[in-house]
């Protein structure tokens, strides 16, 4: 009760400080001092402190199960474990927006502290534009989704958090993902500032690069966490499903990946300035589009919380305003710096340009595949869906040249690279990878030309990235790690695709099911009562042709509040692969519907994706 009030008023205080900050910052533009005035720092910190206080108040309301607060009532329950009470704070629309706002004000604060060496006006314009976004978020929170709505009389018990969200991974997935999304807002604001100040040059690129890398890192990790969660909790039994919600996070990721590369060209060679700006503006726009699509309920998913059309309209207007302002500034103020730069066909900058072309192609495929069904529904009132075959068909063929370019690109020199047509080592490596893929493929009955080429190219890329570690220069250490992570990721995905197998059947207790190379025996089922759910654990004895016996114990949970059944897959993980078993109850309690999957190299997919993301971070440690 008290904390809700406190949280509400400190949120309003935060808004007031943000609004005051705008004229202060604007006035500071005309003061001829080299560093920005201390008032700006004070107000930015005040803004941060009050938003933080408001967020803490919301967390405390959740911990205390203060049901006089509407969102606590809607999303919490007294029997919920403490950890999930806390994570419930951002497990709903209002709370997650407050978290976003907190990250926004935190990032602008960090930006001001770390960019003291940059030109003063550039800092102030970045702050001003960031303030526009911050105030937009404040208004969105207070007008359409107030996290401190009061309920009177206070209910005795809450409605509970959706049980599938009660999971340790999902507790940290949203904050990390938001760090990625919101990080790109700084990228947007500083691009706008750089355009106005005519500061689009290699020094700016150095500053921008840090923010691009930070948001790229968090976005990567956030996506991986969400993907791991969907793998074991939703029982999807895979790592990527081309679900619209996944695609929406992939779009800014592709854009940021292109940006990570092009910003280096701007830094080192003062080229691709316009292109870098376009990518900077697009990444945050794509992040916001994603928010709009999931939060307005246009796309249905676990992320669509209470659907309120007012919210959709608000985000839409906000989004349009942002885009229009950005484009206006871009077209009116932007003067391209004309620097004569020579580049030859074989050079690092051209290979990065090729990378960007591929990224843009991947991005447009994902964008069209995600948005087209929405358009068609609005225009023709036809309902369609676009599934994995579409993406597989359009993306995988282009993956082959992409991987090939990726294996030769990074070792090229700037400006001009003399390629030797006959490089014995590279040819040997290529032969070796062909041989390895031959060894792999004869163990399967898959021998389409297509898979063969894909496998050869990914193994080749893998060898090349491994070899790069043994080249003496330690200059691009982070690039080497990230590229190695990526090649390992692709290789694991390809092998996973080739060797996965699954068995789906309906089975009774005590029954045995025989499949082509093994059998599943359903031994028993045991029930027990847990803090906020009933647990039913089945025991399955699985024998495969190598006669090794494994026991898998998938679980069904029946949650009390709200009453929901979830299945917890049992997964036996080792370095070679996962054995995955999930069971469901269909009707009555006679037959259980089970799916048994062998998924090779799953753990490598997760590890390599995390490695790829972390590679970027070594950029920061090196400099210290």
């Amino acid at each position: 009760m008290f904390f809700s009030q406190l949280g509400y008023y400190s949120l309003i205080c935060g808004l007031i400080f943000s609004v005051i900050l705008v004229p202060i910052a604007y006035k500071d533009l005309s003061i001829a001092k080299t560093s920005i005035s201390s008032n700006i720092f004070i107000f930015t910190s005040l803004q941060l402190i009050f938003v933080f206080l408001s967020f803490i108040c919301l967390v405390i309301s959740f911990i205390n199960s203060d049901f006089s607060n509407e969102i606590v009532y809607n999303n919490s329950h007294t029997t919920k474990p403490l950890f999930y009470k806390i994570s419930g704070t951002w497990g709903n629309h209002e709370g997650s927006l407050l978290l976003c706002l907190l990250i926004l004000v935190l990032f602008i604060f960090i930006f001001l502290i770390t960019s003291k060496r940059e030109p003063k006006k550039y800092q102030i314009f970045t702050l001003l534009f960031q303030e526009v976004i911050i105030i937009g978020f404040f208004l969105f929170l207070l007008i359409t989704s107030n996290p401190f709505n009061h309920l009177f009389p206070a209910p005795k018990e809450g409605l509970g958090l959706n049980p599938i969200l009660q999971d340790p991974l999902l507790a940290i997935h949203p904050p990390i993902l938001y760090l990625g999304y919101i990080g790109s807002s700084i990228v947007l604001s500083s691009s706008i500032a750089a355009i106005i100040q005519n500061y689009v040059n290699s020094q700016w690129a150095k500053n921008l690069k840090n923010w691009v890398i930070i948001s790229w890192f968090f976005l990567t990790i956030g996506i991986v966490l969400g993907s791991i969660w969907a793998y074991y909790e939703l029982g999807w039994g895979g790592f990527w499903f081309w679900d619209p919600v996944e695609n929406i996070s992939l779009m800014p990721w592709l854009c940021l990946t292109a940006l990570v590369h092009s910003v280096i060209v701007l830094e080192k060679r003062s080229m691709l300035a316009t292109w870098t700006l376009i990518l900077s503006i697009s990444s945050f726009t794509l992040s916001m589009c994603g928010t709009f699509l999931v939060r307005s309920g246009i796309l249905n998913s676990v992320h669509a919380f209470a659907n309120d059309p007012k919210r959709g309209v608000f985000i839409l207007i906000f989004l349009f305003l942002l885009i229009i302002i950005s484009l206006f500034i871009f077209f009116v103020f932007y003067k391209e710096i004309k620097i004569e730069q020579k580049s030859f066909l074989f050079s690092k900058e051209i290979s990065i340009l090729i990378n960007n072309w591929f990224m843009m192609y991947f991005l447009s495929v994902v964008l069209i595949g995600t948005v087209y069904p929405i358009f068609l529904e609005v225009i023709a009132n036809e309902k369609i869906s676009v599934g994995p075959p579409f993406y597989n068909k359009l993306l995988i063929p282009f993956l082959i040249p992409f991987l090939f370019f990726m294996s030769i690109g990074p070792s090229m020199k700037w400006i001009r690279h003399n390629i030797k047509l006959i490089n014995v080592r590279l040819i040997l490596l290529f032969l070796l990878s062909s041989f390895v893929s031959y060894l792999i493929l004869i163990r399967t009955n898959l021998n389409t030309l297509f898979t063969t080429i894909l496998l050869v190219v990914s193994i080749y890329l893998f060898f090349i990235t491994v070899r790069d570690f043994f080249i003496k220069n330690q200059k691009n250490f982070s690039q080497k790690i990230s590229h190695f992570g990526f090649s390992l990721l692709i290789l694991s995905i390809v092998l996973n695709g080739i060797f996965s197998s699954e068995v789906i059947t309906n089975i009774k207790i005590g029954e045995k099911y025989e499949f082509s190379n093994g059998s599943i025996y359903f031994e028993n089922i045991k029930s027990s009562k847990k803090q906020n759910y009933m647990s039913f654990v089945g025991t399955f004895r699985i024998i495969e042709n190598n006669n090794k016996e494994i026991l898998l114990r998938p679980e069904l949970r029946i949650f009390n509040q709200p009453i929901t059944i979830t299945s917890e897959a049992d997964i036996k993980t080792n370095f070679i692969g996962d054995k995955f078993l999930v069971m469901n109850l269909v009707k009555g309690n006679e037959y259980y519907n089970i799916r048994y999957q062998t998924k090779p190299f799953m753990i490598w997919i997760w590890l390599s994706a995390i490695l790829m993301g972390s590679g970027a971070l070594t950029n920061f440690f090196k400099r210290r």
Binding site: G235, S301, S364, G369, P389, L394, I504, N506, Y591
Partner: protein, 139 residues
């Protein structure tokens, strides 16, 4: 007539244009082939011919219609006007229950039987696919 630079730029831009046009063409072409249409049982009844294309059918699982054996699950999807039988062997989501909304994806055998390949997972018990909601509201 023109300098080397202009020629290069023209080449670059035309390459870019060609690749853009090509990729858009590719995308639209495979969209056409890979799109899955969503229909209600009533719309199936009104079909004039059955194409060999993947479709989705949404509606409610009819009460007392689920029959399960070791291989198959069969049930009836209804929009309270028309019904269609569904045969399915595969994993069902947790929230697949009689009297609840469902979306099944697969191929039509004839106007009264769908051989399903996938039953879509729902995320919470109150959730109803918008398609189902609309189909139900229309009745």
């Amino acid at each position: 007539m023109y300098g080397k630079k202009v020629k290069l730029r023209v080449l670059f831009i035309s390459l870019l244009l060609i690749s853009v046009i090509l990729s858009i063409f590719l995308i639209l072409k495979s969209l056409e082939e890979n799109v899955v249409y969503f229909l209600s049982p009533t719309e199936i009844r009104n079909l004039t011919e059955i194409e060999n294309k993947k479709i989705r059918i949404g509606g409610m699982v009819k009460d007392n219609s689920i029959v399960i054996d070791s291989e198959n699950i069969s049930f009836v999807i209804t929009d309270f006007k028309n019904e269609i039988n569904v045969n399915y062997s595969g994993l069902v989501p947790n929230l697949f229950k009689e009297g609840k909304g469902v979306v099944a994806e697969g191929f039509l055998k004839d106007k009264s039987l769908l051989i399903a390949e996938k039953i879509l997972a729902k995320h919470d018990e109150n959730y109803m696919p918008p398609e189902v909601k609309e189909a139900l509201e229309k009745k």
